[in-house]
């Protein structure tokens, strides 16, 4: 893939112009860049030598990613999750200030995902910039501070998770045995209604307003639940709007 125009810079320079790129930017672009016949420790030694990182870091990063016990195993015998950990170890080898990770949770079990989340948070807390590219928005939401939404290669939005979720209108889930009557009153009040099975999804007003409308109309409610806006809702709201 070639850029149509412009150029990407990192730390103000193009990657190949950085003085010691491997020690400034750690990247995991795919979890398949291993020779299956090479032992994990040797894989990291190869990278450390080329990237001019101290070889003493090899054992350190193996410990960080929890692979010290499998360091002398050939990578061909690794599971996808172990390869993902090894890829992360490669990125950490040069002790870089910037980490760029493409789908880092791919192949990890739930325990591994939690471990990864804690590790990435701790790396960020050390003052490193951690850029994650992912389609698993629920996981992203739990891990990151700032989000950049890109759809079909184009920038859509940027902001904190909180500001982005706030920007999208929340909805309230309402169930009532008099749904038709309630719906009429809600529409009259200018609220937007969608139907989800036997429930109404109401947008445009808080749950307190909906409760008051129901009380005034003498409508019995079985459920009145504000739905928390997820990053996934933000993504669909922003990208669907753009496509319309």
């Amino acid at each position: 893939m070639r850029a149509n125009s412009g150029q990407a810079t990192i730390l103000g320079q193009r990657y190949k112009e950085l003085e010691r790129p491997f020690c400034q930017v750690g990247a995991v672009l795919e979890a398949s860049g291993f020779h299956p016949g090479r032992k994990a420790r040797n894989h990291l030694r190869v990278l450390a030598r080329a990237g001019r990182a101290p070889e003493t870091r090899v054992d350190e990063v193996l410990k960080i990613v929890g692979l010290e016990g499998a360091a002398k195993k050939r990578v061909g015998a690794y599971s996808l999750g172990m390869r993902q950990r090894l890829a992360l170890a490669s990125a950490l080898l040069g002790d870089p200030g910037v980490l760029i990770l493409d789908e880092p949770a791919n192949g990890l079990d739930p325990e591994g995902i939690r471990w990864l989340r804690d590790l990435l948070r701790s790396l960020a807390a050390e003052g490193r910039a951690v850029l994650i590219s992912s389609h698993v928005l629920a996981e992203v939401e739990q891990t990151v501070d700032e989000v950049v939404i890109i759809n079909k290669g184009k920038f859509v939005a940027h902001g904190s998770v909180e500001s982005l979720t706030r920007s999208v209108e929340g909805r309230v889930r309402v169930r009532s045995p008099q749904a038709a009557k309630l719906r009429k009153q809600l529409v009259k009040a200018g609220l937007k209604i969608d139907v989800d099975g036997d429930a109404l999804l109401v947008a445009g007003g808080p749950s307190s307003q909906i409760g008051e409308i129901a009380a005034k109309s003498q409508v019995v409610l079985h459920e009145l639940t504000p739905i928390t806006t997820q990053l996934e809702d933000v993504f669909f709201a922003l990208t669907t709007d753009g496509e319309k």
């Binding site: 893939m1 070639r2 990657y15 190949k16 950085l18 790129p21 491997f22 990247a27 672009l29 795919e30 398949s32 860049g33 291993f34 020779h35 299956p36 016949g37 090479r38 032992k39 040797n42 030694r45 190869v46 990278l47 030598r49 080329a50 990237g51 001019r52 490669s90």
Partner: protein, 253 residues
């Protein structure tokens, strides 16, 4: 440069491929030397010149260096390790050159190992037939220099061809098909009475034979030792330029 070269050398050393190829080299060298000692006439095994001729089997190291150069370079694409390689060494010319030099060093090391084996086997087996070990420094140096030149260039040639062509099986099979099947045919056509161009001597295998073989008298279809080195280096330069151009166009993703 040193960092990249050291990394490439470590890559060669840390897979099992090199171990099996070394084993194959030692086994074939032993087989040829011992069989030669046991089957040749005593007269053909006597004297430094004849015994140095047995060292010619060390040229097998060039074939191993070529295979290893091809496998290491194409393996980068096959296993996706080209991505971390280019992330650690963003200068693509540096990657091409480092790989080439590492493959050259491998060629040199393989020749050294093969020739040590040959000399040790000559020393051990010649007395069994009642022949004295007579190898002299000058003859050893002559064979060694030619074999080293071939192995170093073939190693680097394999490395550059691998980076340029990428497909592992296709490149290895293609190289061997060219060297041992297609080139002799092309040579035959070019050297035939109908064309009579002598251009066949500039082809890679013919140039290697020019470097390696003992020249007795003038042969218009064979290059001199130095001429062979020059032409083989030209093929290496061509493959290296192709690797630089094609690797330079590759996106890291």
């Amino acid at each position: 440069m040193i960092a990249s070269l050291s990394s490439e050398w470590l890559k060669i050393r840390t897979t099992r491929t090199i171990f099996w190829l070394l084993l194959a080299l030692c086994a074939v060298v032993t087989l040829f030397v011992v069989a030669g000692i046991l089957t040749n006439n005593k007269a053909d095994l006597t004297g430094s010149d004849n015994q140095a001729g047995a060292m010619g089997i060390g040229i097998l190291a060039a074939v191993i260096a070529l295979i290893m150069g091809l496998i290491v370079s194409t393996g980068e694409y096959r296993h996706g390790t080209i991505t971390p390689t280019l992330l650690t060494t963003p200068s693509r010319p540096l990657v091409v050159v480092s790989k080439g030099i590492a493959a050259m060093l491998l060629g040199v090391a393989l020749v050294a190992l093969a020739e040590v084996f040959v000399i040790a086997e000559l020393a051990a087996f010649l007395p069994i037939r009642g022949i004295g070990f007579a190898l002299q420094g000058g003859d050893v140096a002559r064979v060694l220099a030619r074999t080293l030149a071939c192995a170093a260039i073939w190693g680097a040639l394999g490395s550059s061809l691998g980076l340029a062509l990428r497909n592992q099986i296709g490149t290895v099979v293609g190289c061997f098909a060219w060297l041992f099947f297609a080139e002799p045919i092309v040579q035959g056509i070019l050297n035939s009475h109908a064309i009579h161009s002598h251009a066949g001597r500039f082809l890679p295998l013919a140039a290697t034979i020019g470097v390696f073989a003992d020249t007795t008298g003038h042969d218009a279809n064979r290059l001199s030792h130095l001429g062979g080195v020059f032409i083989l280096s030209g093929w290496l330069a061509l493959a290296t330029v192709a690797a630089l151009l094609l690797l330079g166009r590759r996106d890291v993703s």
